[in-house]
Symmetry: C2
Protein backbone atom coordinates (compact mmCIF):
# COMPACT_ATOMS: atom_id res chain seq x y z
CA UNK A 1 0.00 0.00 0.00
CA UNK A 2 2.06 2.86 -1.30
CA UNK A 3 1.08 6.24 -2.67
CA UNK A 4 1.31 6.22 -6.43
CA UNK A 5 3.41 9.33 -6.36
CA UNK A 6 5.57 8.22 -3.51
CA UNK A 7 8.37 5.74 -3.60
CA UNK A 8 10.11 4.82 -0.42
CA UNK A 9 13.83 4.89 -0.75
CA UNK A 10 15.72 3.29 2.04
CA UNK A 11 19.40 3.75 1.90
CA UNK A 12 21.07 6.51 -0.08
CA UNK A 13 18.91 9.39 -1.22
CA UNK A 14 18.29 9.51 -4.93
CA UNK A 15 20.77 11.09 -7.27
CA UNK A 16 20.45 14.37 -9.00
CA UNK A 17 19.70 12.86 -12.38
CA UNK A 18 16.72 11.02 -11.01
CA UNK A 19 15.17 14.26 -9.85
CA UNK A 20 16.06 16.18 -12.98
CA UNK A 21 14.14 13.71 -15.08
CA UNK A 22 11.21 13.57 -12.71
CA UNK A 23 7.85 14.77 -13.94
CA UNK A 24 4.86 15.81 -11.91
CA UNK A 25 2.82 13.08 -10.24
CA UNK A 26 5.53 10.63 -11.04
CA UNK A 27 6.92 8.39 -8.33
CA UNK A 28 9.63 10.15 -6.38
CA UNK A 29 12.05 9.00 -3.80
CA UNK A 30 11.65 10.26 -0.28
CA UNK A 31 13.94 10.06 2.71
CA UNK A 32 12.38 8.05 5.54
CA UNK A 33 14.50 9.49 8.32
CA UNK A 34 13.49 12.98 7.22
CA UNK A 35 9.88 11.90 7.65
CA UNK A 36 10.50 10.88 11.23
CA UNK A 37 12.21 14.17 11.92
CA UNK A 38 9.29 15.99 10.35
CA UNK A 39 6.92 14.24 12.73
CA UNK A 40 8.90 15.20 15.81
CA UNK A 41 10.41 18.56 15.01
CA UNK A 42 8.07 20.96 16.64
CA UNK A 43 8.98 22.80 19.77
CA UNK A 44 6.95 20.66 22.16
CA UNK A 45 6.04 17.40 20.49
CA UNK A 46 8.85 15.26 21.79
CA UNK A 47 8.19 16.39 25.33
CA UNK A 48 4.51 15.63 24.92
CA UNK A 49 5.23 12.19 23.53
CA UNK A 50 7.67 11.54 26.32
CA UNK A 51 4.93 12.29 28.78
CA UNK A 52 2.40 10.11 26.99
CA UNK A 53 4.88 7.24 26.93
CA UNK A 54 4.27 7.06 30.65
CA UNK A 55 0.60 6.41 30.07
CA UNK A 56 -2.77 7.95 29.36
CA UNK A 57 -2.99 11.56 30.35
CA UNK A 58 -5.55 14.32 30.67
CA UNK A 59 -5.13 17.62 28.94
CA UNK A 60 -4.63 19.36 32.24
CA UNK A 61 -1.94 16.93 33.31
CA UNK A 62 -0.02 17.54 30.13
CA UNK A 63 -0.17 21.25 30.77
CA UNK A 64 1.47 20.66 34.11
CA UNK A 65 4.02 18.07 33.13
CA UNK A 66 5.17 19.70 29.93
CA UNK A 67 6.40 22.79 31.64
CA UNK A 68 5.99 26.02 29.78
CA UNK A 69 3.70 24.85 27.01
CA UNK A 70 0.83 27.18 26.22
CA UNK A 71 -2.75 26.08 25.72
CA UNK A 72 -2.52 26.91 22.07
CA UNK A 73 0.61 24.93 21.40
CA UNK A 74 -0.49 21.96 23.46
CA UNK A 75 -3.81 21.79 21.66
CA UNK A 76 -2.21 22.33 18.28
CA UNK A 77 0.51 19.76 18.87
CA UNK A 78 -1.96 17.18 20.10
CA UNK A 79 -4.18 17.81 17.10
CA UNK A 80 -1.32 17.26 14.71
CA UNK A 81 -0.13 14.18 16.56
CA UNK A 82 -3.67 12.82 16.37
CA UNK A 83 -3.87 13.58 12.66
CA UNK A 84 -0.55 11.81 12.24
CA UNK A 85 -2.04 8.79 13.96
CA UNK A 86 0.38 8.86 16.86
CA UNK A 87 -2.02 10.00 19.57
CA UNK A 88 -5.56 8.95 20.40
CA UNK A 89 -8.06 11.41 21.86
CA UNK A 90 -10.95 10.28 24.00
CA UNK A 91 -13.70 12.64 25.13
CA UNK A 92 -15.93 11.76 28.04
CA UNK A 93 -19.45 13.22 27.93
CA UNK A 94 -19.27 14.82 31.32
CA UNK A 95 -19.60 18.23 32.84
CA UNK A 96 -17.05 19.58 33.30
CA UNK A 97 -15.55 17.89 30.25
CA UNK A 98 -12.80 15.35 30.50
CA UNK A 99 -10.43 14.51 27.67
CA UNK A 100 -7.80 11.86 27.79
CA UNK A 101 -4.87 11.45 25.47
CA UNK A 102 -2.86 8.32 24.88
CA UNK A 103 -0.45 6.93 22.34
CA UNK A 104 -1.68 4.74 19.54
CA UNK A 105 0.23 1.67 18.47
CA UNK A 106 2.11 3.84 16.01
CA UNK A 107 2.82 6.29 18.76
CA UNK A 108 4.10 3.59 21.05
CA UNK A 109 6.29 2.32 18.26
CA UNK A 110 8.25 5.52 18.77
CA UNK A 111 9.48 4.30 22.13
CA UNK A 112 12.69 2.68 20.87
CA UNK A 113 13.25 5.68 18.64
CA UNK A 114 12.98 8.04 21.59
CA UNK A 115 15.30 5.83 23.58
CA UNK A 116 17.96 6.03 20.90
CA UNK A 117 17.58 9.80 20.66
CA UNK A 118 17.76 10.00 24.43
CA UNK A 119 20.91 7.94 24.63
CA UNK A 120 22.69 9.92 21.94
CA UNK A 121 21.70 13.25 23.45
CA UNK A 122 22.78 12.19 26.89
CA UNK A 123 26.16 11.07 25.63
CA UNK A 124 26.58 14.22 23.59
CA UNK A 125 25.77 16.61 26.39
CA UNK A 126 28.18 15.09 28.87
CA UNK A 127 31.18 14.94 26.58
CA UNK A 128 30.83 18.43 25.13
CA UNK A 129 32.13 21.70 26.51
CA UNK A 130 29.55 22.68 29.10
CA UNK A 131 29.55 26.33 28.08
CA UNK A 132 28.98 25.56 24.44
CA UNK A 133 26.20 23.17 25.19
CA UNK A 134 24.52 25.71 27.40
CA UNK A 135 24.55 28.52 24.88
CA UNK A 136 23.79 26.22 21.98
CA UNK A 137 20.76 24.82 23.68
CA UNK A 138 19.34 28.10 24.81
CA UNK A 139 19.47 29.50 21.31
CA UNK A 140 17.46 26.72 19.75
CA UNK A 141 13.81 26.68 18.89
CA UNK A 142 13.38 23.19 20.28
CA UNK A 143 12.34 23.14 23.91
CA UNK A 144 14.96 21.27 25.89
CA UNK A 145 13.68 21.37 29.41
CA UNK A 146 10.96 18.81 29.87
Amino acid sequence: MLASHLKVGIGPPQRLEELKNMKKNEPMTICPCAITIAMLSSKWKILIIRELLKGTCRYRDLREQVFGVSQKMLTQSLKELEADGLVARRVYPEVPPRVEYSLTDDGNSLRPVIQVLDAWGAHYVVEKEPDYVATRLTSTRQKIVG
Copy 2:
Protein backbone atom coordinates in the same frame (compact mmCIF):
# COMPACT_ATOMS: atom_id res chain seq x y z
CA MET B 1 32.42 17.08 32.99
CA LEU B 2 29.03 18.67 33.29
CA ALA B 3 27.91 22.27 33.08
CA SER B 4 27.29 23.61 36.53
CA HIS B 5 23.90 24.81 35.51
CA LEU B 6 22.99 21.71 33.60
CA LYS B 7 21.94 18.41 34.98
CA VAL B 8 21.31 15.56 32.65
CA GLY B 9 18.13 13.76 33.36
CA ILE B 10 17.71 10.45 31.63
CA GLY B 11 14.32 8.95 31.96
CA PRO B 12 11.23 10.90 32.86
CA PRO B 13 11.40 14.67 32.53
CA GLN B 14 11.41 16.52 35.78
CA ARG B 15 8.21 17.34 37.57
CA LEU B 16 6.58 20.67 37.86
CA GLU B 17 7.57 21.16 41.47
CA GLU B 18 11.24 20.82 40.58
CA LEU B 19 10.97 23.67 38.12
CA LYS B 20 8.81 25.81 40.35
CA ASN B 21 11.48 25.75 43.00
CA MET B 22 14.29 26.32 40.54
CA LYS B 23 16.31 29.49 40.82
CA LYS B 24 18.49 31.08 38.21
CA ASN B 25 21.86 29.50 37.52
CA GLU B 26 20.81 26.52 39.53
CA PRO B 27 21.18 23.04 38.10
CA MET B 28 18.22 22.18 35.90
CA THR B 29 17.10 19.03 34.27
CA ILE B 30 17.21 18.79 30.52
CA CYS B 31 15.72 16.27 28.13
CA PRO B 32 18.42 14.43 26.17
CA CYS B 33 16.19 13.33 23.32
CA ALA B 34 15.11 16.94 22.82
CA ILE B 35 18.76 17.81 22.43
CA THR B 36 19.19 15.31 19.65
CA ILE B 37 16.12 16.65 17.91
CA ALA B 38 17.46 20.17 18.30
CA MET B 39 20.66 19.12 16.54
CA LEU B 40 18.82 17.64 13.58
CA SER B 41 15.73 19.76 13.17
CA SER B 42 16.66 22.14 10.46
CA LYS B 43 15.28 21.85 7.00
CA TRP B 44 18.38 20.31 5.42
CA LYS B 45 20.65 18.95 8.11
CA ILE B 46 19.51 15.37 8.11
CA LEU B 47 19.90 15.15 4.37
CA ILE B 48 23.36 16.63 4.61
CA ILE B 49 24.37 14.19 7.33
CA ARG B 50 22.95 11.33 5.31
CA GLU B 51 25.17 12.33 2.46
CA LEU B 52 28.24 12.67 4.66
CA LEU B 53 27.59 9.25 6.15
CA LYS B 54 28.63 7.93 2.74
CA GLY B 55 32.02 9.54 3.13
CA THR B 56 34.02 12.73 2.75
CA CYS B 57 32.46 15.18 0.41
CA ARG B 58 33.26 18.46 -1.29
CA TYR B 59 31.02 21.46 -1.01
CA ARG B 60 30.04 21.16 -4.62
CA ASP B 61 29.13 17.52 -4.28
CA LEU B 62 26.82 18.29 -1.41
CA ARG B 63 25.12 20.93 -3.50
CA GLU B 64 24.43 18.32 -6.12
CA GLN B 65 23.45 15.44 -3.90
CA VAL B 66 21.27 17.38 -1.50
CA PHE B 67 18.85 18.42 -4.13
CA GLY B 68 17.33 21.84 -3.79
CA VAL B 69 19.56 23.21 -1.06
CA SER B 70 20.72 26.77 -1.62
CA GLN B 71 24.27 27.98 -1.15
CA LYS B 72 23.22 29.95 1.85
CA MET B 73 21.47 27.11 3.64
CA LEU B 74 24.17 24.59 2.83
CA THR B 75 26.89 26.87 4.13
CA GLN B 76 24.86 27.81 7.18
CA SER B 77 23.95 24.23 7.99
CA LEU B 78 27.53 23.04 7.61
CA LYS B 79 28.74 25.86 9.81
CA GLU B 80 26.31 24.92 12.55
CA LEU B 81 27.09 21.24 12.24
CA GLU B 82 30.77 22.09 12.53
CA ALA B 83 30.14 24.24 15.59
CA ASP B 84 28.18 21.35 17.06
CA GLY B 85 31.19 19.15 16.51
CA LEU B 86 29.45 16.79 14.13
CA VAL B 87 31.20 17.81 10.93
CA ALA B 88 34.86 18.50 10.18
CA ARG B 89 35.91 21.05 7.57
CA ARG B 90 39.18 20.80 5.75
CA VAL B 91 40.46 23.51 3.45
CA TYR B 92 43.15 22.82 0.88
CA PRO B 93 45.40 25.74 -0.06
CA GLU B 94 44.82 25.45 -3.76
CA VAL B 95 43.50 27.57 -6.58
CA PRO B 96 40.69 27.10 -7.23
CA PRO B 97 39.90 26.35 -3.60
CA ARG B 98 38.89 22.92 -2.43
CA VAL B 99 37.02 22.25 0.78
CA GLU B 100 36.13 18.84 2.04
CA TYR B 101 33.57 17.99 4.65
CA SER B 102 33.40 14.84 6.67
CA LEU B 103 31.77 13.56 9.82
CA THR B 104 33.65 13.67 13.09
CA ASP B 105 33.47 10.77 15.50
CA ASP B 106 30.47 12.42 17.10
CA GLY B 107 28.90 12.82 13.70
CA ASN B 108 29.51 9.20 12.84
CA SER B 109 27.96 8.22 16.13
CA LEU B 110 24.70 9.43 14.65
CA ARG B 111 24.69 6.54 12.20
CA PRO B 112 22.67 4.15 14.36
CA VAL B 113 20.37 7.03 15.27
CA ILE B 114 19.72 7.80 11.63
CA GLN B 115 19.13 4.13 10.95
CA VAL B 116 16.47 3.97 13.61
CA LEU B 117 14.82 7.13 12.31
CA ASP B 118 15.01 5.70 8.83
CA ALA B 119 13.41 2.42 9.81
CA TRP B 120 10.58 4.08 11.68
CA GLY B 121 9.88 6.52 8.87
CA ALA B 122 9.89 3.80 6.28
CA HIS B 123 7.48 1.70 8.25
CA TYR B 124 5.25 4.67 8.91
CA VAL B 125 5.02 5.79 5.33
CA VAL B 126 4.07 2.42 3.94
CA GLU B 127 1.35 1.66 6.44
CA LYS B 128 -0.33 5.07 6.34
CA GLU B 129 -2.97 6.34 3.96
CA PRO B 130 -0.98 7.40 0.91
CA ASP B 131 -2.99 10.57 0.39
CA TYR B 132 -2.53 11.71 3.95
CA VAL B 133 1.15 11.03 3.89
CA ALA B 134 1.52 12.97 0.69
CA THR B 135 -0.27 16.09 1.87
CA ARG B 136 1.23 15.86 5.33
CA LEU B 137 4.72 15.70 3.97
CA THR B 138 4.35 18.49 1.48
CA SER B 139 3.09 20.85 4.14
CA THR B 140 6.06 20.40 6.42
CA ARG B 141 9.06 22.61 6.77
CA GLN B 142 11.41 19.64 6.86
CA LYS B 143 12.74 18.72 3.46
CA ILE B 144 11.73 15.15 2.72
CA VAL B 145 13.17 14.49 -0.71
CA GLY B 146 16.85 13.80 -0.43
